[in-house]
Each structure stands twice: as C-alpha cells, then as structure tokens.
C-alpha cells in the first residue's frame, strides 16, 4: 500500500481528476494549500505598500493505492498536471502500513477497491 501525495496547480485539477478516472483510480482526497518553490512571486499593492505574495495557491491530492496502481497513478498525474512552467508541483510516494475502510472496517487492498469491484 502506498499513499501518493501530489501538489498541483489549481487549474490543472480538472484534467488530473479526469485522467485519474480513466486510469480507474476512484478514491481520493483533495485540499487547498499554499506552496512556495521556484515560482516568480506575485505582487500585491495595498495602499502605500507593495507586497510580495511568496505563497501560491496549489491543490493537494492524497491517493491511497495498492502496489500495482502506484505507477499508473504517478504517470497519470505527471502527464495531466504538467504545463512545463516552474511551479507545476511535486509528487510524493509514501509507504502506508495499513488502510481501513471506515464503513466496513475492511483492511488494506479491500479498503481501497471500489465497492463496485467487489460485487
């Protein structure tokens, strides 16, 4: 089991979700985050002040997958989230010891397989 954490641009979310769907990745969790990397900073003006916004809006995806899906998922994200400009984000693949499905208490593989697949 792995947990894939990806930081992407908000405006690529649509494409990434679609591509993941096609790759048969059905479960995921999304949150809004702010990121700092090598991007050119945005500038804001507030009355007398000019301020730099060093943190850019990003979206964070968290996807628990079983081993065979790891590469598929990473590739799907790499392909759909990339624009070629600095600031596209990162993917982290992290080890997971156990996954539970809260509804049923199922564990590991069973917990990340979509319900439909079981029946």
């Amino acid at each position: 089991m792995k947990l894939i954490v990806a930081i992407i641009r908000p405006d690529r979310l649509s494409e990434v979700l679609e591509r993941l769907y096609r790759a048969e990745v059905r479960g995921l969790t999304v949150s809004r985050v702010m990121g700092h990397g090598g991007e050119v900073d945005q500038v804001a003006t507030y009355r007398g002040l000019t301020v730099k916004m060093e943190l850019q809006e990003k979206v964070r995806l968290e996807i628990g997958v079983s081993e065979p899906f790891v590469d598929v998922t990473v590739r799907a994200i790499l392909e759909s989230a990339s624009t070629g400009e600095v600031g596209d984000g990162k993917i982290f693949v992290m080890p997971v010891e156990h996954v539970y499905r809260i509804r049923t208490g199922e564990r590991d593989e069973a917990a990340v397989t979509p319900a439909g697949k079981l029946s």
Partner: protein, 440 residues
C-alpha cells in the same frame, strides 16, 4: 396643488426632495450592481468585477458632466443635442420642470453610470480593465447619450410616440445588446464550456438584488420628475411587478429542477424590475402584476438556452436586461392604459402602440449593436481588450489590480523578496521599491 400656486417654471420643494432622494437611490444601484455581479463570479475575479462597476463613477460620471449631458439634453435637435451644456455651462439652480436644472442633470448622471455598468456583466473575468473603462466612457457618449436624447431629450422617438417611462429601451435593451456584442468581440473566457464557473458568494448576489430593488424606486419613481400621482403609480408598479416575476420564476425553477434557486430568485427580482421599467407610469397595478408574471418567461428561457450556446455573456446581461427590456417595452404597448397615464395599448383597443414600441426596440437594437461594435473595434486598435489565458488563470484581481479580495489572517503569508537581498529582511516584511516589481 402646490404647482397651481406657482408661475410658469417654478421649483416645487416637494418635487425637489423626491428627485434628490431618487438620485441618491439610483446612485446606490451602481454599488448594488457591483455586488450582484461580484457575487456571481469566481473569487479570483471578484474585485475586478466590482471595480468595473465602481470605476464607472469616475469614467462615465465625469464624461457625463463634461459632455454627455449636453449631447443628450441640450437644444431641440431631433437627433442630437447641441453644445450648450458642455462642461455644465448654463446648468444652474433655475427650474427645469419643477426641479432645479442642476438636479435634473445629476439625476440623469446616475442613469448614465448605471447603464454603462450593466455591460460589465458580459465581459467579466477576461476584459482588460483599462480598455473597459475607455470603452464604457465612449459608449456613454456615443451610444447612450444619443438614445437618451431620442427618447427623453425631445428627439425623434419621443415625437413618434414611443413610450419608455424609465428606460426600457434606452437603458436595458441598449445595455443588453451592447453587452452581447462585447461578449462576442472580447471572446469567451478561457474556461468557458469546459468548467462550470460557479458564483463565489451568493449572499452578495442577494444583497445586490435587495439594494437594486430599493434603488429602483428612484429609477422608476423618480422618472416622473415630480412627487405626483405618476410617481406614486410608477413606484407601486415597481413594487408589484418583481413580486409576480419572482413567484413565476420560482415556479419555473421548481418545474425544471424541482427546486427554487437563490441565484434564480435574485435574477427574477432584477428581471421583474427591468420588465416594469418602460411601463411603470403607464399601466395599472394589476397590469404590473401581469407584466411581471409574463415577463419572467422570456428571460427565464433565454438564460436556460444561452447556457447551451457558445455565447459567453457571462452573467446573462442579454437575457436579463436585453430580453427583459424588450419584453417590457412590447408589453407596455399591450397593457398601457389611458386611465393610468396617457395612452392606451393593445388590450385597451389601440394596437398601434405595440407597433410603435416594436420600432423603439428595433432602433435601440440596431443602433446599440452597430455602434457598440464599432467602438469596441476602435478601442481594440489601441489597447488589447482581453487578458491572456494565463492571466485569466491567475485571476483578474491580481493581473489588473494587484490585489486579492480575501486574504486570510496573519499577513504572515507575505514576505520580502528574498532573492534580491536576504540580509535586508530584518525590519520590514514588505517592500515598496517599485522597480523590483514584476507583473504576475
């Protein structure tokens, strides 16, 4: 009564008070529109949308005082005013009707501003701010002022007998058509059709609708230019029509989607107000209810259909104001009732009025359509009209205004430019050196 006591042109205090109040009310419609429109866009374009409204106070307001008023209301030409009132020359406290001339100018000024502002709804989330301001300033001078002259300034449409109590054609058809043209010329938003663009703050939309309802009493009620029966009639029809529109709209919504939406309700109130605008002083209160109820249907359908087309009239100015204005202008020709103000319409045995109304509408569509197109192309020659896709992705609040509508607590998320000089970061987390700024 009081009028009877006065000589030829005399100022009546009660009339003056009513038009003072009405002017303030119409002025409030511009911030109201800012909230109505601002709530409907995405958060990253909220300020830009609202600035499209508030900025018009500067651009259109000054244009009007300097030249627009003269084009619309000086002299007795059939097609255009003369230069008599340029720079408000000769516009003083003497009577025009029963109110001071200066007040009449101010009242009309608030109309010019809010009419231009309506156009914004069609080009939000992509039009460059500078180009927009230049366009609406010119538009108020070249499109709005002449049309106002034809209908209210003693021009040829008035002579012909076209009825337009408070601006169904001059304001709403005119702005609606210009908006559609602008949407076409500026082009679709980069995400249009691919993503659902949802309103970021529906309560703001409802605030806008509530304030518009309130302000519209000045718009329609004040158009009587006196505190007389006509004002009362226009006021009350303006109260009643949107109520009927709202009821019908909620019913249509419930039939189509099983739920009455809040954005729909806010839209319904505005459409009801638009529909009653040309008719306000000409129809009976029950006629107003009928007009409001009927008026819901064309705009409702237009909004549903428009969403399936490739025309990115983003906030449905054409469907709301254009179609609403046309419906209202035509129904004025149907419901006009001589017992309630002047002439009869179709229902009271005078079908010709419906034809006259149709002429008024067609003239407004043609003139506004052609001239708006010409103006946009002209402005486009000098200033690009459109924010590049990348900028649209970032949001116009940042690209056009260098601000964000909502920043969350702890300005802590803001730091100095570290690359230039990390050592300097000791005292201030903000820099004011303009030279190091970069365009996002």
């Amino acid at each position: 009564m009081i009028q009877a006591a006065a000589g030829p042109p005399a100022i009546v205090p009660a009339d003056t008070v009513w038009i003072l109040v009405s002017t303030a009310l119409v002025l409030l419609m511009t911030p109201a529109a800012a909230f109505f429109y601002g709530g409907l866009v995405r958060a990253k374009n909220a300020l830009n949308t609202m600035m499209m409204c508030l900025g018009a106070f500067g651009a259109v307001g000054v244009t009007w005082a300097v030249a627009g008023y003269s084009v619309a209301f000086s002299g007795s030409g059939r097609f255009l005013g003369d230069t008599g009132f340029l720079f408000l020359h000769g516009v003083g406290l003497e009577a025009r009707g029963s109110i001071p001339h200066l007040l009449f100018m101010a009242y009309q000024c608030t109309f010019a501003v809010v009419t231009a502002v309506l156009i914004a709804g069609a080009v939000v989330e992509r039009m460059r701010y500078g180009a927009y301001l230049v366009f609406i300033s010119l538009w108020s001078l070249v499109v709005y002022a002449p049309l106002a002259h034809w209908v209210w300034g003693g021009g040829w449409l008035a002579t012909l007998g076209v009825l337009d109590f408070a601006g169904g054609t001059v304001v709403h058809v005119n702005a609606g058509v210009a908006a559609a043209v602008a949407a076409l010329v500026v082009g679709r938003r980069k995400d249009y059709g691919r993503q659902a663009v949802l309103p970021h703050n529906v309560p703001f939309v409802m605030l806008g609708a509530g304030l518009l309802y309130f302000g519209w009493f000045g718009f329609n009620g004040g158009s009587a230019l006196a505190a007389n029966g006509s004002a009362v009639q226009a006021f009350v029809t303006t109260l009643l029509a949107p109520m009927a529109t709202l009821l019908v709209w909620m019913a249509l919504d419930a039939m189509r989607t099983r739920r009455a939406t809040a954005v729909g309700a806010a839209t319904a109130i505005v459409v009801g107000l638009v529909v009653i605008t040309p008719a306000a002083g000409y129809v009976s209160p029950m006629g107003a209810l009928a007009l409001g109820a009927l008026g819901a249907i064309p705009s409702y359908c237009a909004i549903v259909l428009r969403a399936r087309t490739r025309l990115d009239d983003s906030l449905d100015v054409l469907a709301g104001h254009g179609i609403g204005g046309i419906t209202g202008a035509l129904l004025t020709g149907v419901f006009a009732d001589a017992r309630w103000g002047g002439v009869n319409g179709l229902l009271h045995g005078r079908p010709v009025q419906l034809g006259l109304q149709a002429i008024g509408v067609l003239v407004a569509i043609a003139y506004s359509g052609v001239m708006s197109l010409v103006l946009l192309r002209l402005v486009g020659l000098f200033i690009p009209l459109r924010v590049a896709d990348r900028g649209q992705g970032v949001g116009l609040d940042i690209t056009e205004h260098g601000e964000e509508a909502y920043t969350n607590g702890e300005g802590a998320l803001l730091l100095l430019d570290r690359r230039t000089d990390p050592a300097r970061r000791s005292a201030f987390a903000t820099t004011t050196t303009d030279s190091t700024r970069e365009r996002a």
